[in-house]
């Protein structure tokens, strides 16, 4: 009798392979069914669909409840957020085994509580650092004609995102909810982000100097000679106009928010006017 129960429990145990499939399904689907009202809810549900059906095999009502609660509003960073899946899977597994301490409210508040901070840190690290710094280094090489360099930033990003989300998925499953807190609060991460943002700012400085082109063709003639205004500026401080342009847009965004359309239109009209009156 007892051996039969054990076998049953075994057939409901979440294996490494189940985790891998759930992770793969999450990566595949996360942003596909995104909607305004529930964001990535269906992506979450799709990811753990198979696992829920396995752990709640003989509990159809519990299964339906679980499906319902994981089709609710959810939104996070696809990479860093996968730690939540790991945690939820381990909790659902415990609940299916009869641990009634694991309540619906607990899982819901865990998801809601974690998805925001993970989205914040994940978006800025993945998109702001892992994608941007390699772009800063390799796009100039691409401009010089290297096809290889064109692919490098994307390959770096993919290696990082797939690797790190698989790592977090497992970590969430193995360590439960404490794992997230330990990750978010670890000083090492703060230090890495700090270093990376300094590197990023310096690199963006180099890139702005290299690729924002804004020079005046104004000149004036005195009795002796014709003076190019651009040469005057370059002798004082090189690249002053591009610098002023970047800083101008930067402070506009800080003060007025990211109104891209306004900025683009303004720069276009500004450039056309300056061209018309012969300044650039």
């Amino acid at each position: 009798m007892s051996s039969k129960v054990e076998v049953q429990n075994d057939s409901k145990k979440v294996t490494k392979f189940d985790l891998f499939i759930a992770w793969l399904r999450w990566c595949l689907v996360v942003e596909v069914p995104v909607s305004f009202d529930r964001m990535q809810a269906l992506g979450f549900c799709y990811s753990i669909n198979k696992i829920l059906r396995k752990v709640y095999k003989d509990q159809p009502e519990e299964l339906q409840q679980a499906m319902r609660r994981h089709a609710r509003m959810f939104n996070t960073n696809a990479d860093w957020g996968s730690v939540i899946h790991g945690i939820i899977i381990s909790l659902e597994e415990q609940r299916a085994r009869g641990n009634k301490d694991v309540s619906e409210e607990m899982m819901e508040s865990l998801k809601i509580g974690l998805m925001g901070p993970l989205a914040g840190i994940g978006d800025s690290v993945d998109q702001g650092i892992v994608m941007t710094i390699p772009l800063a280094i390799f796009v100039p090489m691409a401009l010089n004609g290297s096809i290889f360099a064109a692919f490098v930033p994307s390959l770096i990003y993919m290696a990082w995102a797939y690797g790190f989300s698989w790592f977090l998925f497992n970590r969430g499953y193995n360590l439960g909810k404490n794992s997230v807190l330990s990750i978010l609060q670890s000083g090492a991460i703060k230090k890495v982000i700090d270093i990376a943002s300094i590197v990023g700012l310096f690199m963006i400085g180099c890139l702005s100097a290299a690729y924002v082109k804004f020079e005046t063709i104004l000149s004036y003639s005195s009795e002796a000679e014709t003076v190019q205004v651009q040469e005057l500026i370059d002798n004082m401080i090189p690249n002053l106009l591009p610098f002023a342009l970047v800083m101008g847009i930067y402070y506009f965004i800080i003060k007025k928010g990211p109104k891209y359309l306004q900025i683009i239109l303004f720069v276009m009209v500004f450039a056309i006017l300056l061209t018309l009156i012969g300044v650039i």
């Binding site: 995104v34 064109a150 300094i198 990211p258």
Partner: protein, 249 residues
């Protein structure tokens, strides 16, 4: 031309349909799309040049919470074929790309509205305990619906766009074309400022200034720049840790 248009349309769907998000996020860089579109039209080097130039505009494209600030893939998939077929300047290609980058945000909003329908279908399937069907409504059907939404405009634009662009360029006066080209040269400033806003704590801004003028004077390679930047950052963190410890003691 028909086959090329289909391929570019599919490319846009793959990059913005978002199946395998990490892959699609990596694919939708204009610098990558430039090479691929270049291959489709038989001139990878030219495609690369257009793609990399358009990329400068979108250095800091952070999609916080899935809200894309502008659709760099649409910008690339419409501007690069037109630029290749008409032999445009890279900066003119940038000016052409921008409006479509803005338009793409609209397509994304349409997509997220359509997807609302799949939410309620999935709910129904859960109530009926048809969990396999739930999977159908969470991935395959939304993805195919995206496909129609994303493929169509790019396919049409590539098929007919080149002629329209040529007619447009012939039509507008030269000073406006020059102005647009100048704007294209200035607009990377937007991408860089945006990156500054997203990356930087404001008290780190001097590192941007340092990088800017160090490059203006010395003009080293970007890899050298990265070595400088990393050394600088590590020196700073050395001091920072020190002062933190003092603060605790």
């Amino acid at each position: 031309m028909f086959v090329q248009s289909i391929l570019v349309g599919l490319l846009y769907w793959l990059s913005m349909g978002r199946a395998h998000y990490f892959f699609s996020y990596a694919l939708r860089r204009p610098v990558v799309l430039g090479v691929l579109i270049g291959w489709i039209f038989g001139d990878a080097q030219a495609g690369l040049l257009y793609g990399a130039t358009i990329q400068l505009l979108y250095m800091g494209g952070i999609e916080a919470g899935g809200n894309i600030p502008s659709d760099q893939a649409l910008a690339a998939c419409i501007a690069i074929p037109a630029a290749l077929l008409n032999n445009l300047d890279p900066t003119t290609a940038v000016a052409l790309a921008i409006p479509f980058g803005v338009l793409g945000v609209l397509i994304n909003n349409v997509r997220r509205t359509i997807n609302t329908f799949f939410n309620s279908r999935s709910d129904t399937m859960i109530e009926q305990e048809k969990y396999d069907k739930v999977s159908l409504y969470t991935f395959l059907l939304p993805w195919l619906a995206n496909g129609v939404l994303y493929f169509t405009p790019v396919f049409i634009a590539t098929l007919f766009g080149a002629n329209v662009v040529q007619a447009f360029i012939d039509f507008i006066p030269e000073w406006i074309m020059n102005g647009l080209s100048n704007a294209g040269a200035m607009l990377p400033a937007l991408g860089f400022s945006l990156t500054l806003v997203v990356m930087g704590k404001r008290h780190y801004l001097p590192f941007f200034v340092l990088g800017f003028f160090a490059y203006s004077i010395a003009g080293f390679s970007m890899l050298t720049g990265a070595v400088f930047a990393l050394s600088l950052a590590m020196i700073v963190s050395l001091f920072k840790q020190h002062s933190d410890e003092e603060g605790i003691a």
